[in-house]
């Protein structure tokens, strides 16, 4: 409980840092007056804060929280600490749909991109789950099926990008790097409206996630059908993760790392694990995005690239820690 409180209290500080750093640094005094309306802040600073940095920071936090929650669900439902939403086809499906839209239908407005990515992710997840439920939703089978389907979509994506117009391919590559550059208030509102019910539902279902940590015979002995509840949880995971990916493009490793750190701090019970995972994810992505757009400003490193650069060594460490399992 105390850890979660500290993490929650750290959020406003991170947020202030995210608002202050960047291509044009803004002093704390100006940030506070722009946010509260007391005192005078230069109009350009107010514009940068209200139209660019604030929606971007809040979106980063929402997406980070969503990816972390999706990761926590995934790890519980698959009984696999190395699981993350990408494994069940979210990124592959979203990327393919985005490529088809950007390269294959150049006439269509890019406003459709998030919807296409969401649709692609859900179709892909449904396909993998549909195949996996026949074999009892075992973690290893899902991963194998996921790899198979991933190779297929990867192949189609590769074909599309090698045949497509080079400018359109470039544009889709930028999307696939996972960036928060296109953050608008409207995106934040849509995402929040989607996430709030999902998060409430998730907190209610926390005991079921605890239960799914057991093997199937124990789960069934306690009165719950294991394959169906695992599939249901992964569907919820997909709904959350696909919305996040649709808004920014695939951002890796937050879904893997955040629940891990949280589990290390408060243990495996989901009533405590879920809120802290969400806070960790929110903080991590906000940090990654702030660093990404500050260190070589005015150039920006997409948050997805930064999380991958940080996440890969972490993943290695995780594998090393579980080497004897």
């Amino acid at each position: 409980m105390r850890v979660t409180l500290i993490a929650a209290l750290a959020m406003p500080l991170l947020l202030l840092a995210a608002l202050g750093f960047g291509d044009r640094p803004i002093p704390l005094g100006h940030i506070l007056s722009a946010l509260t309306g007391f005192g005078e802040a230069p109009p350009d600073a107010v514009f940068i804060l209200n139209q660019l940095r604030l929606p971007r920071a809040l979106l980063a936090m929402t997406i980070g929280a969503a990816l972390a929650l999706a990761g926590a669900i995934c790890q519980a439902a698959m009984r696999n600490p190395l699981a993350e939403p990408g494994l069940i086809g979210i990124n592959g499906g979203a990327a393919l749909a985005a490529l088809v839209l950007i390269i294959g239908m150049p006439g269509v407005s890019l406003a459709w991109l998030p919807w296409a990515a969401f649709g692609g992710a859900m179709v892909m997840v449904a396909l993998i789950q549909g195949l996996a439920i026949r074999v009892g939703m075992r973690s290893q089978r899902i991963i194998l099926i996921g790899i198979g389907c991933g190779a297929l979509t990867g192949g189609i994506a590769g074909f599309l990008s090698s045949m497509g117009d080079i400018i359109l391919v470039q544009r889709s590559m930028i999307w696939m790097a996972g960036s928060l550059q296109d953050s608008r208030w409207e995106k934040l509102w849509i995402l929040l409206m989607w996430m709030t019910p999902a998060m409430i539902l998730l907190m209610l279902l926390a005991p079921v996630l605890d239960l799914l940590g057991f093997e199937d015979p124990v789960v069934r002995g306690l009165g719950v059908s294991a394959p169906w509840s695992r599939a249901g949880m992964l569907a919820l995971c997909a709904l959350i993760a696909a919305a996040a990916v649709a808004a920014t493009g695939p951002i890796g490793f937050v879904g893997l790392i955040a629940p891990h750190i949280a589990r290390h701090l408060v243990g495996a019970g989901h009533r405590r694990l879920l809120p802290l995972s969400a806070l960790m994810g929110a903080g991590l992505l906000l940090l990654a995005d702030t660093v990404g757009r500050s260190i070589i400003a005015p150039a920006q490193i997409p948050a997805g690239i930064l999380t991958a650069l940080l996440g890969a060594p972490f993943f290695g460490w995780l594998m090393w820690r579980h080497r004897n399992d």
Partner: protein, 259 residues
Amino acid sequence: MTDGLVTRDLTLGYGAKPIVTGMDLTIPPGRFTVLAGPNGSGKSTLLRALAGTMRPRGGQVLLDGASVPAMAARDLARRVGILPQSPQAPEGMIVADLVRMGRFPHRGLLSRWSDKDEAAVTEAFRLTRTADLRDQPLDQLSGGQRQRAWIAMVLAQRSRIVLLDEPTTFLDLAHQIEVLHLIEDLVHAGRTVVAVLHDLNQAARHADHLILLDAGRIAAEGAPADVLTPQNVAQVFGVNVSILQDPETGRAMCIPKAR
């Protein structure tokens, strides 16, 4: 209508080959029943079907006259508890959290932890003598302590019928005896217990009802003294034994003949 668990012409199997065929069985209520037999004779499979975790290929499994496979999993879990063979808990789980899990079939998503839940968990701790271990992680317990914690979880379910799949396997002698005494206490308290055991002498000593399975059929069943005969053991296990009287309890016991 018959009380308790009954099977009628039950056939079970995973692939093409049936594991249990045409079995008619009645589990005596309020007694300790042991399923024994060679490896692959269908003991665990039968236990899973009794718990409703495996669908019959033919015939019926009935609980108080109602079909077990047709029952909602949650209702069934309130009436029949099962402990699978060598279960694994999530990393780092503590004993108290494991035992509380036994209340899962009794709780709604929005319901708070009730006095009834607390009473059931306290009783489970008491019966299994695990209250002192409640804050310890399962992976740091000895084999016997861990098995007791798992049994406590099943007891917290407060099901009238408790099914245990090889509860003594991988335990040393002292812990085996501990688990068997615990089962006796449960039966004294009015529960029905069915356990798969490998040790015929332990079965003979502790069971009220012994069922010998052989290749998916009942080779013999009844009071241990009637079931444990040289003929039955030779037929089922292919081992020639002498039957003696247990000097401690006066019950039957068998020892293999010298070559």
